[in-house]
Chain length 429, copies 2
Amino acid sequence: MTFQQHVSVPHLTTALTGPLQHIESHLLGHQVEIEAWFRSQWLKTPAPFYTSVDLRNAGFKLAPVDTNLFPAGFNNLNSAFMPLCIHAVQSAVERVCPTGRRVLLVPENHTRNLFYLESLATLVQIITAAGFEVRIGSLLATLDEPMCVELPSGRSVTLERLVRDNSRVGVAGFDPCAVLLNNDLSEGHPEILVGIEQSIIPPLALGWSNRLKSGHFAHYRDVAEELSDLVEIDSWLISPLFRNCGEISFKKREGEDCLLKNATALFTAIKLKYEEYGLTDKPFIVAKADAGTYGMGVMTVESPDELVELNRKQRNKMASAKGGQEVTQVILQEGVYTFETWGDAVAEPVVYMLDHFVVGGFYRVHKGRGVKENLNAPGMHFEPLAFAESCSTPDRSEAPDAGINRFYAYGVIARLAMLAAAREIHQHS
Amino acid sequence: MTFQQHVSVPHLTTALTGPLQHIESHLLGHQVEIEAWFRSQWLKTPAPFYTSVDLRNAGFKLAPVDTNLFPAGFNNLNSAFMPLCIHAVQSAVERVCPTGRRVLLVPENHTRNLFYLESLATLVQIITAAGFEVRIGSLLATLDEPMCVELPSGRSVTLERLVRDNSRVGVAGFDPCAVLLNNDLSEGHPEILVGIEQSIIPPLALGWSNRLKSGHFAHYRDVAEELSDLVEIDSWLISPLFRNCGEISFKKREGEDCLLKNATALFTAIKLKYEEYGLTDKPFIVAKADAGTYGMGVMTVESPDELVELNRKQRNKMASAKGGQEVTQVILQEGVYTFETWGDAVAEPVVYMLDHFVVGGFYRVHKGRGVKENLNAPGMHFEPLAFAESCSTPDRSEAPDAGINRFYAYGVIARLAMLAAAREIHQHS
């Protein structure tokens, strides 16, 4: 029995030493417990309005590497799942402003990034179809007149200047019930949004100027342990090990001792796990700005020494994150191999959620990059490959690695990362 | 901009005298108001767990003719929308028993109706994929052993005997959190379900032994007037006129005066409306058992006299409804033409909802039947034609009669009938 046809699922090329299908089997076999557990968790800490999660699938390990609370890329989802997005938005907005009809979207300040603007157009389309009036209020100070951008898809988006009137914000002639942030606030809280009486979703406190990746992954480690107990697997199979350093300056070469010490400890821990599972792959770690986003200041290293033997160019790259902030805190995270391929290209799944519902996802398919590199890096080129099927239709009569069951596994791990984010929100509120 | 490809939408062959596209245009133009209004309504009177609504589309008029709170036919929905069904069930059960994991389905007592059992199998599949354990507890007294029925789709369903233990019901070794009724209780409240401590969804009071069609359509008339004010149309365009008679006996020919008087008044009212809109079609009315279901005891008449000139066979047919109950109360309802055709066959839309979400629908496509006959009658044969697109993706950049916008209109009118049912539930609880 199948709900959908099986197409467009990348092939999983794993080193055959690992416990292939082990994770998928356990998730599928405990589906009822998993769903009941998630239900009880969302009652305690409600899901964020929207979330996207970058996953890595090494076959023996399936884990999140990044959780975005201001996701872009909605245009890369399978259009067949738009009704799911619409229903999920209706559920989410019912909680926030049940009787409201106007939503203001506050985007990133990109005016030439057509990929981003296509995502924004899709968001506008989803929220409009859900039965709301939507306008886009931009933080761009240079926007004197509304700016209409025609897009390659044939759609267009109109950016208007965000204005404040006492304790309310809006755009000309439009007083919204809720403000939906699609701007990760890397550069801090915009003054115009501080203290307004309308609901801001997600709350300002969730911007990257307040969040640390290490804070998120500490919550993730907890929820991964809880789920692992439930489904009877080793939590390492779904959770990347990590350590974080305090104040670091790559430019001034301060804090190198701490980096070296933590990197050494992390490599040792990963090696032990690889030995336990008989894995012959070479461990690697990823160093990232703890408060960063957009894949800036990210580096893959294969030994602790590499971290202190950086050349000047590498140092400068690590020293700056989005918006020109200097990287001062660093998270060292266990690298997870990507063993999914589409033809001869590496494919990394990205899962999208609206409210607590998984509404789709896509693979970043990248031809020129290796299995351990970061596929979401500046200037990188990928082809999006929309998930062919939903993440909500597991089928125990099919093999654990059948397309629909692999998508279900993605959905479980992505929701787990979302639950970690929900706990972060709860902590900040 | 479109979400889906346009296929499988029947052609609408209307008499070109009517205000074609008038309803669709007004619904589409007021989408934001409609959705905000529905949101506020569901806060006051929550939607039933599931509902199916039979619609008739005459082009100049789009109206519900039957609202089922124990729907079958889930197997006729487009399998592409199963994820929508799964999410909707998750939303609905979250409200009823958020921490529960076991659901007991209590079906109709059909053991040989494979169409019904296919629908039951689909329901089990949806609820299972939503993350619950599901078993089927049958009211059949003859069921000593579990009965496994193999189905044409390759699936199977296992019927087990419903058992009671003090104030709880279940099947052997299975203590459910909620009891989901898929049995319309035409024959009254089964004693085994009375006074149990588990939640029964929908409540026993909603069975046909308690409900009257005239009660439902009185609520429908109210909600249709409210929506019509909102979208600025004449409420007659979405609401069938009706009158109901008290105690009637077709066999004993009692109450014929009342029937004749009400039928005459109804024909007069319909004719006035037809004249107002310049419609040249011949008015007709449908007489039904007020407390019936399953299309039994339904008769189409073209003049008041026909109602009292019934032959013996017609009298007997009208006198008995499902379960052998004698029809004693009758509703006379304005007949609504079906002007949708698929090839040379008549097509009648049926819309399915789970919680307050429209999750799909299908057309009853019937080759041997006329535009004014009841397509859901005993022994009738229809081919189901699944809706190709969702009812939740209206698009103002397309024509009002484009497939997706016609499906949106169906979804609005079906939800309106569901709202009438929600008010009935509220009244009974």
